[in-house]
Subunit: 135 residues, 2 copies
Amino acid sequence: MSVGHIGTPTPLVLNEDCPTREVLDRVGDKWSVLVIVLLGQRTHRFNELHRTIEGISQRMLTLTVRALERDGLVNRTIYPTVPPRVDYELTELGRTLLVPLEALNTWANSHRDDIRAARERHDAETADRTVQASG
Amino acid sequence: MSVGHIGTPTPLVLNEDCPTREVLDRVGDKWSVLVIVLLGQRTHRFNELHRTIEGISQRMLTLTVRALERDGLVNRTIYPTVPPRVDYELTELGRTLLVPLEALNTWANSHRDDIRAARERHDAETADRTVQASG
DNA sequence: CAGCATCCAACCAGATACTG
DNA sequence: CAGTATCTGGTTGGATGCTG
């Protein structure tokens, strides 16, 4: 590259191409991680996931597993039986994702209290200022 | 605990208390990671972040850094000068988060192509079925 | 059992205008 | 410079009813 005038030293700009963001777009939503963690333990059927993940709607579970399947993280196996049966399991790619997810989980467990403490401290200070402002 | 009848073997249920989800609620949004990564390099001023993070609005940047500050991940320093100056930097807690984030980043870089390939394959198959269905 | 289709409410987030 | 306030369109996601 022959660009690079003196005084224009490549303006650093971060956009949505950041690969970490790309992963978080898939995994950072409300349900994906829970599904991945469950499938990391063993294969699950649709209603198993549905029962185990508290609060997820049928619709959201469908959308979540479909997105994970699309990205090659989850395999979806349909058994042509009556009643129908569909198994979900992690692909090999999906299992490799468990590793960094586990790192995140470790961090979360280690610093959960730190975050809660910081949050309460911050909220208390904010409340102080509100009292001062209104008093 | 004296519960535990035979046949009711503790129903495993995952809810939003999953610590990984707790982290992802903070970090999994559209902008937090970009802010954290930038602050991992050095202290930044508000408009530095604003210029460097492509596409973020002033409002979203404010909300993002405020949330990170509330959770003790980012320090906000106000200099009472004219014009005003506000510096943002990672706290020690915030710097520890860089480690698992780096793991995620490594995974993302390693498997970016896998995901894209899976996605294209999936989309192609879906298109196939659409063609078959309409033909 | 494992979904899909539809409707609708709530929240999110961008644009714009204004302020200390 | 570093925000706040308000409005509003767009997306997300739950509820419900129906199907192979």
